[in-house]
Structure formats: C-alpha cells, structure tokens
Symmetry: C2
Subunit: 345 residues, 2 copies
DNA sequence: TCCTCATCTGACACCGGTGTCATAATGTTG
DNA sequence: CAACATTATGACACCGGTGTCAGATGAGGA
C-alpha cells in the first residue's frame, strides 16, 4: 500500500499539484471539468491531505488547547466533550492542558506550551477565563483565544457564559418561597468569577424578598468537597441553625448533606440543601440535590466554534477585521430534587 | 520580534543547519567546540524547534491518542492525567478520543482518526484494551499501541493492568470474614474485561471459603449508576434478602446505597455494600463505600511511557527488534469505609 | 613521507503541502 | 478585429526541519 500524496493525485488527474491544492482549499479559478477530474482522483485514490505538511506551509497546527483547573471531573469531561465536538467538525484537534499554576509561573508555562505546540488558539475555562494577566499576555502575543464562563467583558475576545447570577437568584428564591429565612451560603473558590456571581444572586434574592443578609450564615469554600465539609461543620453547629444551606456547587452541597446525615439531621425536613452545577453526584446521592444545570458542553462548543472562526479569519490577511466584542449568555436551568422542602417548624 | 528558525541559529553559530540539527537530535559526530557554539546560540536566541517541520521531515506527529469509552468521569480524568504526565515528559502531545462505536464503525472511525491526525501511537483503555478486532486492525496497520487494564495477552504489545481478580477476591473475602454468606454481586459491562475478572475474584473467594455460589444473587449491570439502580431494585427485593452486596464499581454501589436508604434499610447494619475503583463518590456519600483503589494514573503513565519507547525505537530502522510481550501488573488496594460491617442477625 | 581510516562538516534534495507570479486561454469592448 | 480584462493553469520557491552523501580534516600505521 503506497502513500498517497498530492503528487500522486496530481499526476493521476493529469494536473499540477497546485491545482490539486486549489481544489482542496476550495479556491476560485478552477474550471468545473478540472475540479471534477481532481475530485474523482481524490475518491479513487482515497486521498487524505497531510495535516502536518499543510500546517508547515501555512504556519498552522490545526490544534487548539483547552486550559483548565477545576476540581470537578464531570465539569472537565463536559468541557472536553463540547470542545471536541466543535474541533472535529472543523478538522481541528484538541489538546488538553490542566494547569494548577498561578502568577508568573502560569505565564511561563503557557509560553512554553505555545512554543512547543504551536497552537492555533486557546480556550480558557474557569478560573482562567477571567485571569487578567493571562488574557493580557495572550492578547499581546496575538494568540487567538475564547473564554468560557467569563464575566469581565473588557476586550474583543469571544466569551460564552451562562447566567450564574440569575441561577443563584432562582434557587435562593425557591428556598425563600418554601418559607426559609435563615439560608446559609457557601462561597466558591475566590479565583473563579462564578463565585462572586453566585453570591450576588443569593444576595439579590434575599434583598428582593426583604430578608436581611446575615454575614454569620456565609462561609468561604473553594468548590472542593473537602471545603464543603469544613463549612458544613461550622454551619450546622450555628445557633440558631439555619433551616437551609445553599452551596455554590454540588460537591460542597454533597458534603453538607453527608455532614447533616452524620449528625442525624433529616434532609430536607430538618435542613434543606441546594447546590449548583447539576453534577452527576447531585442525582447519585439520597436525597437528590436541588441544583442549577448549566449547558457546559454547549458553552464550550460555542466558544470553540467562535475561536476557530477567529483563527480562520485571521488567516486571510484581512488584518484585524475587528468584530465587536462578542459575549453570549446561555440559560441556566433550575432542577428540583428531594433535598429542598419547606422548613419543619 | 523575529521568528527564530534553524537557519537563524545556524548563521548565528556560524555552522550549517545540518549541524544544528545534529545537536538538536544528539547525533554523534559533532565536535565539542561546535556543540558548545550551537548550544550557546540556542540559549541566546531562545530557540525552540518547530515540531511541525520536524514532524514533516521525519513523518512523525509527536501526537498519541487516548481512546476511551467509560461512564466514569473520574476514571477518564485519571487516565488522562497519567497519559499527559508521560507525554509531556517526552515532548509528545495527547489527543483524547472518546468513542462509543463498536464493530466496523469503530474500525472506520479509528482509520479516519489515523488518516487525519497522523498519530504516532494509540493508548487503548477499557473497553478497547481487549477489543480483538481493533487490536488486530492496529497490528495489521502497524500502528504502535499500548493497552491499559487489558487481560488477554496474546501478542507483543505492551499492557499495563492492575489485579482486578485479586481485588475482587479480597473485598469478597472481607465480607465473608465479617460473617456474610449471602453476598449479592452486580456485574459490570460485558465489553469490559474487568467485568469477568471481578466476577472471577468474587467466585474464587466464595469457593475458597466454602460458600456455595448462588446464581440468584448475581445481577447484570454495565458500570453505570442507572444499571446499578436497576439491579438494586431486584436484589433488595429478593427473599431472603442478601446481607451484603458487592457491586463491580462504585457508581453501581452508590446506586444500591441510595436504593437501600430509600427503602429505609440501614447501611451497613441491614445490608453491607462494597464497590470497586475508589471513585470520588465512594467517599462523598454517607456511609462511605468500602472499595478497591487502583493506580489508574500510574497504569496509564506506564503504558504511555512504553508506547513512546516503542515509537521511538521503531523510528530507528532497527526493524522489529522484537521485545518480548510485556505485561505489567500493579497492585490494587483495599479501602475500608463505613459501608461494610458484620451482619445484624 | 604517504596512505588509510575515522571523525567532522556542509551542500543539497526531500517531506507534502501552499504562495507568488508568469503565462496561456478565453471573454469583452470599441 | 485589435486591445484589453478576466479566468485558468503550472513552474518554482518556500515553510523548517531531516537524510544522504561527498569532501575536509586529523590521527595512526607502513
């Protein structure tokens, strides 16, 4: 079995390899008969262009990387699956780049990644989506990038998010409408912009329903199960104990649930619990967690889609055909399960 | 900022680009002074070779792909993280390729992957590790590959596994020693070779302790939470009800736990539950699951390590310097949590 | 001293595509 | 029908490295 190159195709079709290249890239100025001949040759020889050679000639790698640092495995795989979908559709490959670094070390690490992989672009996911230095660095290096779940909108890069503030508002409002007044809140990791968003939604719901905000009911977490367990320890021993807990993600909520169960508190009767993200664990535990579902795959897919568009257009020397700042916001959806109910009293 | 190519380095160091190339690749026949000059140029110009050009010239992509189809997100991320570690260390990039296809469609899909990505090699993870047709296909195409958690050892490819049979044996034995005699078992997905292994371990433990195997206590699952819930439904309504359930993975075990709790059965007093894999959920639920921990990252890391070795040596025309079939088995470890105890009786 | 052999080095083709430009073929206009 | 614009095509250099091979250099032996 011989290797089929553009030269084989060219001689088989009786044209020059440049003409074959034209057909490959849908360039204009190819007559219909010639195009047909070439396409026929493609079919009959079962030709696939070599992406490496292509990449060399056009200084492209057809690779984009997805940068993340998230404790939730399910979130990561959902990100990946959305990104992959968009990549495959456009003939790109996806590189995954988990990264725990911060500060200068992060920039160095990314610089090295760019150097060695010759990426065409980068997808930033939380907490990197709103990492000011990183964004500035990439812009300066003129590396195309798109951001997932970012909040700040200070530039011309693409950003796809879901409405965390609104989601948090709705779930808090649900608790309020069930009759809860003392609703504890566990914050997420301070590096993630979602943390502030969710907190804002919580406070807006309280305010809107005339419930006073109580600082004593708010704990600092970091999205990890462990931090949820620590916060639960504090919250569940408050006196008076709140009748509901809203944790900024499902892992922390699950930790609260476990702690409550260990203390022989009945959920939701003794204490209602709500989470955020609709992670698998939310329905794997008993009682199932009331939570907010975000379209993570879709967010990432859209982000990558726009990233690729940006890459491809930057390719035509059309020099900075400035697109207006693009921010897309998708809907988050409230999912009610068994962990929430009216307070007992 | 100019682009630094091998030509820049060559003229800066006052040598030919071929000599620079020699230094890059640690080829022999470069005098020490020359080598020093070139290395100095590398430093001062901050040169990084272009992997794409390299790939074109050597017909290599420095990319390997990880093939998987697994319902457990945490398993997937662990696989990835082990694979990434090995890749980075050797200057390779990792492509992830989730794939749900089977039969001819699978082979077509892989063929296309090979065509379009020009991979250097493939890591097969369950359930593909023991997929006979796929393995044969890859061997025929002479695509280097390594297998993770495979059982069959019928060829010369590398395979890294952990001892599932032994793990299942130990956990079953634990239940037996606690006093359980009626121990239900939930099988995994039939495509995964681990399924049979774990079942074998279960039976061996029963046999070794003189407990009769009861077919009525065995349910077919497929590793998904949902299948665990279905099996639990059946098992928990058996009469007489078994005093323990050993599920082939933690998701199914979690489903049993949830079902038992909903039925107001106390775990572990009314029914003991054991899982397998030590997935995060095993410690996120209450009571925590007794389970078996496998070194998934390490397994994948080793597999990729050997794969890269194989790729690099196939590169020197040393033509099939046959290495003996290599199978590495790592230890699985029993982890006791609260979900197992002696039967109440 | 001359020849041989091993070591070092560079010229040049090549990997498989794409960009530039010149030229041939065709169409349009006055 | 001449003069020019437009479309179609191929020759050739180029992307940034590596492989081949021939030539230069220096050490060791006759």
């Amino acid at each position: 079995m011989k290797k089929i190159t553009i030269n084989s195709v060219a001689s088989y079709a009786g044209v020059s390899k440049k003409t074959v290249s034209r057909v490959l890239n849908n360039e204009p100025n190819v007559s219909d008969v010639t195009r047909e001949k070439v396409l026929k040759a493609f079919k009959e020889l079962d030709y696939t262009p070599n992406p490496i050679a292509r990449g060399l000639a056009r200084n492209r790698s057809f690779i984009i990387a997805c940068l993340y640092d998230n404790p939730s495995k399910s979130y990561i795989t959902r990100l990946q699956s959305g990104a992959l979908a968009a990549c495959h559709q456009h003939g790109f490959n996806l590189l995954i780049h988990p990264c725990e670094l911060r500060g200068q070390a992060l920039l160095d690490n990314i610089e090295q990644l760019l150097q060695t992989s010759r990426l065409d672009g980068l997808v930033l996911t939380p907490p990197f989506s709103d990492h000011g230095e990183l964004v500035a660095f990439l812009r300066q290096k003129k590396v195309p990038f798109a951001r997932v779940a970012s909040v700040k909108l200070d530039d011309d890069s693409v950003s796809v998010r879901s409405n965390d503030e609104q989601g948090a508002f709705e779930i808090t409002e649900l608790l309020i409408k069930l009759g809860h007044k003392d609703i504890a809140f566990i914050k997420g990791h301070p590096d993630h912009s979602a943390t502030e968003q969710r907190f804002n939604g919580y406070r807006r719901a309280l305010a809107q329903h005339g419930i006073e905000y109580q600082e004593r009911l708010v704990e600092e977490g970091n999205f990890s199960y462990h931090s949820g367990a620590d916060s639960a320890e504090t919250i569940l021993h408050l006196n008076p104990r709140p009748t509901a807990v809203f944790a900024s993600n499902d892992y922390m909520a699950a930790a609260v649930l476990k702690a409550a169960t260990q203390m022989n508190l009945k959920v939701p009767d003794d204490i209602a619990i709500a989470g955020f993200d609709n992670a698998p664990i939310a329905r794997h535990i008993w009682p199932g967690l009331t939570t907010i579902a975000q379209p993570v795959e879709e967010m990432t897919r859209l982000a990558v889609e726009h990233l690729i568009e940006q890459i491809n257009q930057g390719d035509n020397g059309d020099e900075e055909q400035q697109k207006e700042p693009l921010q897309i916001t998708l809907e988050a959806k409230l999912i009610c399960r068994e962990s929430t109910a009216a307070p007992k009293s």
